[in-house]
Subunit: 349 residues, 2 copies
């Protein structure tokens, strides 16, 4: 029989219905994945093509090399087709009975490697650490702009996850409002803390999951990767720092290392175990200008969503997800993936 499960924080229900998996085949993603967009011959993210992107915002590159020249190992440029733009005044206006706001924000692309064919999961651990450092650097820099209320670091892998560029990259969008998903999470964490008279729901979740182990995908000293009890999607995986920290950018050097390691291991388990499917991940951190007491409840984390199924009318109409893969089974399957030598000596616990 299907089961409804409630998210601990948002208190939204999901439907876990493994019987629906019998509807046909396993996951259809490989059947619907079209060829990747740009091939190497014309990719502006490649080494030597630095002049084809907008002007560089930041890069890790050898001392003495100039911006927009080769030699870099992580490079950040403005998105050529930005969802929000950095230039201009933030202003709200009425339009008939409605309300609109100027589209002020930032939209940056973090190019994770100069190699066109590389995938984040298969980069050396050291390089993944560099990517995480750049997430932090860009986050900190943008967080100083008082027009912004929120910064989302995210990644789209493959066209089935909305990516239009095959070259490995992450993105970052700063918004002038707190997005609704984050607002609901903040509110849920506040209510949980108030109701239970302790902080926080995610600390309780991490403790419970470590104790039971059945939904754990990977662990190291500073982080845990798990399938949430109320998983909305097959193989949805959340990565939590064990230390209760509202701000993503408060990462310590040890946490940068361990985040890179657990992220790489999780991505490898999904890559090898599920055949390199499209996926998205994003980081939920506390909103930028939130009052201290409310902000203190937040526990930043990363959410990773493989794109193995297509949301249909029921999901769009209810925002209540039907998930055909119980998270206990998903976690077991990911734990059992044999990574052989892929993890590398440096990636091992």
């Amino acid at each position: 029989m299907p089961e409804l499960r409630k998210d601990l924080v948002t208190r939204e229900w999901v439907i876990i219905a493994p019987e629906r998996a019998d509807r046909g085949g396993d996951f259809p993603w490989s059947a619907v994945e079209p060829p990747t967009a740009k091939d190497g011959a014309s990719c502006p993210f490649d080494r030597g093509r630095e002049g084809e992107t907008p002007q560089e915002i930041a890069a890790y590159r050898p001392a003495g090399t100039g911006p927009n020249t080769p030699g870099w190992w992580v490079r950040v440029v403005p998105n050529k087709f930005p969802a929000l733009t950095v230039e201009g005044e933030l202003s709200v206006r009425s339009v008939n009975i409605y309300e609109a706001m100027t589209g002020i924000g930032a939209h940056e692309v973090i190019i994770e490697t100069a190699e066109h064919q590389a995938s984040l999961a298969r980069l050396e651990l050291k390089q993944v650490e560099e990517v995480v450092w750049m997430y932090r650097d860009r986050y900190l820099d943008l967080s100083r702009d008082r027009r912004f209320q929120y910064i989302l670091v995210f990644r789209n892998h493959r066209r089935g996850a909305g990516s239009s560029m095959a070259h490995a990259h992450s993105q970052l969008i700063a918004t002038p409002v707190v997005p609704v998903a984050v607002r609901h999470e903040v509110e849920g964490l506040r209510q949980y803390a108030e109701y239970h008279n302790r902080c926080c729901a995610y600390c309780d979740m991490v403790a419970a999951e470590v104790a039971s182990g059945e939904r754990v995908v990977a662990q190291n000293k500073e982080f845990i990767a798990l399938e949430p009890f109320a998983s909305r999607f097959p193989f949805e995986t959340w990565v939590f720092p064990r230390r209760h920290t509202p701000h993503f950018a408060a990462l310590t050097p040890e946490e940068v290392k361990d985040l890179a390691a657990i992220l790489r291991e999780t991505l490898l388990r999904i890559d090898v175990g599920l055949g390199d499917p499209p996926y998205n991940y994003f980081i939920h951190s506390v909103p930028l200008n939130m009052e201290r007491e409310l902000a203190a409840n937040f526990h930043w984390h990363l959410e990773l969503i493989p794109r193995l199924t297509v949301a249909a009318g029921f999901e769009l109409g209810t925002v209540m997800y039907i998930n055909i893969m119980p998270p206990e089974r998903a976690a077991q399957r990911l734990r059992q993936v044999d990574l052989g030598s892929l993890l590398g000596a440096e990636g091992k616990k």
Copy 2:
């Protein structure tokens, strides 16, 4: 410059960023659409294959013909792979620190025609009316089950919209909880009514849109189809009854006729204008057992979402949509579609 727009009821923001359309091509849906699932040779929804579905729940069929025999023009059967099941007790249990509920509900398939090749948009108006009558019949029947809090009527067209069967059909799922999307809408309508000391936001929206006309797609005596000011998706279209009614099933015979006509016209405009893309639609009606005063604010409607783009990490992480098609432009484009003789004499205003 991009613009943020706020939904009148949920007060959630969307980003309207037409510049991002230049990223490449028009809409990629035709490129990503795989062949439809079942072909006619083995489709259990076809005339003469009634024995291959679960036992019929209801049908419009000639007097004297028995259930599960040919002759029907609209037929309802249980979904073979239900997301929720009708048999059993509703019960909640604790699982560690979490909460779960038995997956009680109903999941029905409304087969809209016995013709395998037919599409809803191109059925005769009379047949679309019959489909709407069946929506109403099934809604009313299921609404008597006190275990259910909500009933969603919805439709998935093509695999890109999550459909696994090519044969024209709608679905209906009854849930034991009020889905979060509906809860937020109820709450938004209540707050609007309270703040403005009048009912309701959607009545105000319909009046404003009729007056301006710029986002209107189609109109008839009882209904209006429009692109919402804060459209989340390109060509997102909402259909409202002009009469303020909380309950979908309170449709009068005149409203059934006009709903069928406006739905068919809208679907034809999307079919012809956009090249028969995948789409979903669903009906938002007031929750079943809601207290009278709160329920009175609700204004039922249908939301139609063509699936022309893929939600990516930003959308999943924020639930804030980036829409590359301003609704004013979308409405104009749909209004200008030349339907020639497709609408038929009976479909004309």
